[in-house]
């Protein structure tokens, strides 16, 4: 606790002054009046510096669409005025048709990420419907607008027909269905001249009517060229508006991460069918134009080659980028024409150009950049027009000043960024009640995966405004509980109610609509999107979705949208000006803590009534974790109902009203943080079972080294050592490395000697796993040396490091599930390159683990968790390595199995094997290790004889209080 206060102080000095000031007059448990916690929009945007910088950037960002695309379209429409060459107009018209197709395919494949290999079928359906309705084929000569509308409707119906039964198919399987559909349509078009002549078979339908719209004939080449390009320009504008609206963001969300999208309230099935329908509708429109343009349709207009051509256009131009999608057709229609001079070689050159372009520019010629081009002034103007915005800004401040006292908590949808949905009156009523409404009720919930019971008869109640912590060892069922509450997993039995409504059989998007928002353990952002776009995805349910509004951008629509953008900006601003400055940066460029913040901002933007946070401090330094604590407390003061999964007991103690402890899927305790910490059963769960005691070790480390300790105190003497004086097997010297955006290792020095068991302890994300990945070449050190058996290995590929004699038992075991036990072991001996040697080695391993010998023919994926761990250890042994690295071998195992695994490690060590063990389960690991290193935030903070660390019985108590 003390240590944590220090951390907070440091954090405060790092953070912006404004919020630190607030913290000063708000002691630890916050019983003082609440201040408005965030910047109201006017204040934030009134800052001239901010506005001008933003505005300039916005203008630059929106440049391609406003200044390049629209004039380009205008020029292309007007080509016939200055070019009357028949040949150019022909090529230009077909380019316009391809542009419409490319815009449509860009929605399906680019925005929604659905690989549609039968796209041209919809083009064909549109073209043939038009041709049948407006030609001498059946003597029907329907007017252009009617026929074209029918074309679009027919194509959309076909898309619904294809996409609804295939909603459960993913990726390449969906691609195959569409490919099959495309082929069937082509075959039908080609052969429906018998027994009844409908399509005229391979001869196609000729003599199709020229477009005639309200008496204006588009029969001439110039006129029909203009018609195509006017339509194409209109389509470009509509598509750009739709893709930048809530609909486009929902498509992007299902493309990037369906689960996260559903948790934001996106009805994945509906938007998927919608993407297919939009693509098909545009293809149908292009089909109608094609039929009227070439005054005929032929089956060979709609072959697979055409689909491929359109794909090439959007990929080469730059998927999801309007300028890119426009450039693609231009280049690919013009390129073959330019190559005409090389006659027979032109397609060959075209193919080579395609490969070279993709290899050297896989992102396309004009790739998409993240941008939401809403000029800031317009935004402010629009926001002012929303009446409830103004009043809510006032509401945010008025009660905050007016109603002091610890009980004050706004209800319903709480505030931040000056946006509050509840009224002050409502607030007062709520404040009068000592017990608030039950927000979430879980009753006797059981969840099973296969034979494994992940959650067993758990019940809990969360009242409005409470912050409830959920703790428990790895594999306790915490995340599964969140998945049950958000509808990602379905309970086997039991009852879950959100504000009284039974949600146990609701799909995730409906649960989101009830006001449940969450973050994920492994951050699930929409990676190709910007910060603001991600956060706006959180506003999905709040944004207007009406097509007329989106396409026409009516005043009301813009005002509403602007208010949501302000809201999203407010959510970003909640995390301080540093993050707000990056709102247009793609999220994959952010640092790890910033990514966590964006995910939280996205959840906040939804205005949740219940907020679920899954390990919000995982992978953060103590300073960064301090920021998170502060943020959660601000949320609590703002009245949010929060359920938070945490590993760090100090975070829980400092943020939660109440703590629930899970272990092996069961609730074993509940109470205030202090009660839970002193509960012997809880201590047992943490110490007997794996994980989390890394924190204890950290405390020991502090005790040994002292707060100002330099961090390195190696005790080389071995107690009870019957081992010979050892030589170094592995040595790390000043190793730095980063994993993704995380600076994981910051100058690690470590040595492993022959015959030792060396354990590396540390809490979650202290850098332990990254250290092993760095040793094995999965992550490259940015500086420092790794020396194995006197040889530097830090530049070798993983397979060569394995061949040099390092074996690993990876985190999560990583056995080959589809292979038998014996095959797994044989692969373990792959480096031996000798069948007999492998067989002998396996026999020796079977002596150590007779249970595996009995199961040698069984598929490894069917083994139990403990058996899989034994297999992973055995597999590493078969190669007779000089060093075995083990990454959390006790993770997810029951206590009795942990003992067995540790015993096995001790046995193989006695047989002469050197072991580098990475563990969270400090007690179990220290019991068998010779020496230990404590890692924290990528640094070795202490090291010494394992017995020194183990002796201390106060470890547990220190950790839990």
């Amino acid at each position: 606790m003390c240590r944590f206060t220090e951390v907070l102080t440091i954090a405060r000095s790092y953070k912006g002054m404004q919020r630190s000031m607030k913290r000063q007059d708000m002691p630890a448990k916050s019983k003082t009046p609440c201040k408005p916690v965030s910047i109201p929009p006017d204040e934030g945007m009134g800052s001239t510096e901010w506005t001008s910088a933003r505005a300039t950037e916005r203008v630059l960002r929106s440049l391609p669409v406003a200044t390049a695309v629209y004039p380009a379209l205008a020029v292309l429409v007007l080509v016939p005025l200055f070019a009357r060459n028949y040949y150019y107009l022909r090529a230009g018209g077909s380019c316009g048709l391809y542009l419409i197709l490319a815009l449509g395919l860009n929605i399906v494949a680019g925005e929604a990420g659905l690989l549609d290999l039968g796209y041209v079928a919809f083009y064909g359906i549109g073209a043939y419907v038009y041709a049948l309705l407006s030609s001498p084929q059946f003597g029907l000569h329907a007017p252009f607008l009617l026929s074209a509308t029918c074309s679009v409707l027919a194509a959309v119906s076909a898309a619904v027909l294809v996409s609804v039964p295939t909603l459960h198919l993913r990726g390449d399987y969906l691609a195959m269905v569409t490919l099959g559909f495309g082929q069937i349509v082509r075959i039908l078009l080609n052969n429906l001249d018998r027994p009844v002549n409908i399509t005229n078979g391979p001869n196609g339908i000729v003599g199709v009517d020229a477009p005639n719209i309200f008496g204006v004939s588009f029969a001439s080449l110039e006129m029909s060229y203009v018609l195509i390009w006017v339509v194409a320009a209109g389509v470009a504008i509509v598509v750009s508006r739709v893709t930048r609206s809530k609909i486009g963001r929902a498509w992007a969300a299902i493309r990037e991460d369906e689960v996260a999208a559903a948790c934001m309230g996106v009805d994945v099935a509906r938007y998927r069918v919608m993407a297919f329908s939009w693509g098909a509708g545009l293809a149908g429109l292009a089909g109608a134009l094609l039929a009227s343009w070439q005054r005929a349709v032929f089956p060979q207009n709609f072959t697979m080659t055409e689909t491929i051509a359109v794909y090439c256009m959007i990929i080469l131009g730059g998927m999801r980028s309007l300028p890119g999608v426009m450039v693609g057709p231009l280049v690919l229609v013009i390129l073959p024409e330019l190559l005409r001079a090389y006659s027979v070689y032109r397609m060959l050159i075209y193919g080579v150009a395609l490969v070279l372009l993709v290899v050297y520019r896989p992102q396309g010629l004009l790739p998409a950049g993240a941008s939401i081009s809403v000029p800031i002034r317009r935004l402010r103007r629009a926001a002012r027009r929303v009446p409830d915005m103004e009043s809510s800004t006032g509401a945010a401040q008025a009660p905050a000043r007016g109603t002091p006292g610890p009980e004050r908590r706004p209800t319903d949808t709480p505030l931040f960024a000056g946006i509050v949905v509840t009224s002050p009156a409502q607030d007062a009523v709520q404040n009068a009640k000592p017990f608030r409404e039950v927000a979430l009720e879980v009753k006797g919930v059981v969840c099973k995966f296969g034979g494994l019971v992940a959650v067993s008869d758990v019940s809990l109640t969360v009242r409005q405004g409470e912050v409830v912590g959920i703790i428990g060892p790895n594999g306790a069922g915490k995340t599964t509980l969140f998945n049950l509450i958000t509808g990602i997993a379905k309970p086997f039995s039991g009852d879950i109610r959100v504000f009284g409504e039974d949600i146990s059989s609701m799909p995730p998007y409906k649960i989101a609509a009830l006001g449940v928002a969450r973050t994920f353990q492994n951050i699930r952002l929409f990676d190709s999107q910007s910060v603001l776009e991600n956060v706006l995805a959180g506003c999905h349910l709040r944004l207007p979705g009406g097509l007329p509004g989106i396409i026409l951008r009516t005043r009301a629509f813009r005002a509403h949208e602007a208010s949501e953008i302000v809201r999203a900006k407010g959510a970003v601003n909640f995390f301080g000006p540093e993050l707000a400055a990056k709102e247009n940066a793609p999220v994959n460029s952010l640092t790890y803590p910033d990514r966590r913040r964006v995910e939280l901002a996205r959840a906040l933007a939804a205005g949740p009534r219940i907020l679920l946070l899954d390990e919000p401090t995982a992978g953060m330094t103590p300073e960064e974790a301090g920021d998170v604590v502060e943020e959660i407390r601000l949320l609590r003061e703002s009245g949010y109902t929060v359920l938070v999964i945490e590993h760090h007991m100090d975070v829980v103690a400092d943020t939660c009203d109440r703590v629930i402890v899970l272990d092996h899927g069961e609730k074993i305790a509940e109470g205030t943080p202090a009660e839970v910490a002193s509960n012997p059963e809880v201590m047992q769960a943490y110490l007997g079972a794996p994980s989390a005691s890394g924190g204890a070790a950290e405390l020991v480390a502090d005790r040994l080294v002292g707060p100002a300790g330099s961090g390195r105190r190696i005790a080389t003497q071995q107690e009870g050592s019957d081992k010979p004086f050892m030589e170094s097997v592995l040595e790390l010297r000043g190793v730095h490395s980063s994993y993704g955006a995380v600076r994981a290792l910051q100058g690690v020095d470590l040595q492993v000697n022959t015959g030792e068991i060396v354990v590396v302890l540390g809490s979650n994300a202290a850098g332990k796993s990254t250290m092993l990945k760095t040793i094995l070449g999965g992550v490259r050190p940015s500086s420092g040396h790794i020396i194995f058996m006197g040889r530097r290995i830090d530049a070798l590929p993983t397979s060569e490091i394995a061949r040099a004699g390092i074996a690993i038992v990876p985190e999560g075991r990583r056995i080959f599930p589809g292979l038998t036990v014996l095959e797994n072991l044989e692969l373990g001996g792959y480096v031996l390159q000798n069948r007999r040697a492998i067989a002998q080695s396996i026999e020796r391993v079977f002596e150590l683990f007779p249970a595996l010998a009995e199961r040698r023919g069984q598929r490894a994926g069917t083994l139990s968790g403990g058996e899989q761990q034994m297999l992973a250890i055995s597999r590493a042994l078969v190669a007779s390595p000089k060093l075995i690295c083990m990454d959390e071998p006790s993770m997810g195992l029951a206590p009795i199995l942990v003992d067995r695994v540790m015993q096995a490690i001790l046995d193989i060590n006695r047989a002469g094997m050197t072991v580098l063990l990475v563990e969270q389960n400090a007690r179990a690991a220290l019991a068998i290790a010779d020496r230990a290193y404590i890692l924290r935030s990528g640094r070795v903070v202490a090291s010494g004889a394992a017995s020194d660390f183990l002796e201390d019985e106060t470890v547990a108590r220190a950790y839990l209080s």
Partner: protein, 309 residues
């Protein structure tokens, strides 16, 4: 109906013949998909190249329309030459068109594959002047060698195709399930990183996968040439499409699935002809595919993956 029944045995033979060629080709798609999760659209064209290499060898060994060597020697030379040439080609495609894209988006290798496909088709068109080349199968396998069984006439060519295909499939199945390279391939496809931990050089394993898959496509090309007695530069596309369908039908990434898928597809195509006009036989193939995927989303022998949240 009686007429249908009478034709049934013959269609079974036809279906098995075509199906075994599809299966050989499907193996290449499936192996590559299993290991790289990418659709190798150029595979059908590799098959076409194999057919032409076989034709080239046959042409060289039949100066003046007379065989220069024993028919078996010629057949062996054709098969070997086609397999060597296509495996080198497959290796080169992997090295230059796919390996640089291993870290980019999933669609990039697809376009690269299409580019390779266009290159191969157009190169073949230029080299053959766009004309079909006749395979003089009759010089190698006497057309009057036939077996009559249960109402079906089985020509020696068909028997040879079915026999060689089955033998190759069994050999491949054995290799993949028993040899260290096969186990390394399966390990790489299940978990490439863990395979590296075992000391497996996965880049080499991936290259080997392309070599083997392409060699199978090469010999399949020779067989299709012997069967249809002519080849042209467009056979790659439709055969590739069907083989790819077969691979997905069986459960893409699954080797036995690819074999089963190929045979099912060949049989479906032959039986389909009994009930609808021959022009719709391809439509039947794709209808079977769609129905299978809707009912069994991961294919006949595939396993549905579960995502962990």
């Amino acid at each position: 109906m009686e007429q249908v029944l009478a034709q049934l045995p013959q269609q079974v033979v036809n279906g098995l013949t075509l199906g075994s060629v599809y299966a050989l080709l499907a193996l290449g798609y499936s192996m590559v998909y299993g290991i790289l999760k990418m659709l190798n659209f150029a595979h059908g064209d590799v098959f076409m190249v194999g057919a032409f290499v076989g034709w080239g060898v046959l042409h060289l060994l039949t100066p003046g329309g007379m065989l220069a060597a024993h028919p078996l020697v010629v057949l062996l030379a054709m098969a070997l030459a086609a397999m060597v040439a296509t495996s080198l080609l497959g290796g080169a495609i992997e090295r230059f068109a796919y390996r640089p894209l291993r870290k980019s988006s999933r669609l990039a290798p697809l376009i690269s594959a299409l580019g390779v496909s266009i290159i191969l088709e157009n190169a073949a068109m230029l080299l053959t002047a766009g004309r079909a080349k006749a395979y003089q199968t009759e010089l190698l396998i006497p057309q009057n060698w036939t077996v009559h069984a249960g109402g079906a006439t089985i020509s020696a060519t068909r028997l040879a195709i079915i026999g060689v295909s089955l033998a190759l499939m069994f050999a491949l199945d054995f290799a993949v399930s028993r040899t260290m390279l096969g186990k390394a391939m399966r390990a790489t496809s299940q978990d490439r990183e863990a395979a590296e931990y075992m000391g497996i050089r996965t880049t080499g394993v991936i290259a080997a996968t392309f070599l083997i898959g392409s060699a199978l496509a090469g010999i399949a090309g020779v067989m299709i040439g012997l069967y249809y007695m002519q080849v042209d530069f467009v056979i790659g596309f439709s055969a590739g499409l069907k083989a790819f369908t077969a691979a997905v039908l069986g459960g893409i990434g699954n080797i036995r699935g690819a074999m089963a898928g190929g045979l099912v597809l060949g049989l479906a195509e032959s039986f389909g002809v009994l009930f609808v006009a021959p022009v719709y036989k391809d439509a039947i193939v794709f209808a079977v595919l769609i129905a299978t995927l809707i009912l069994k989303p991961a294919g006949l022998l595939g396993e549905q993956a579960h995502e962990k949240v």
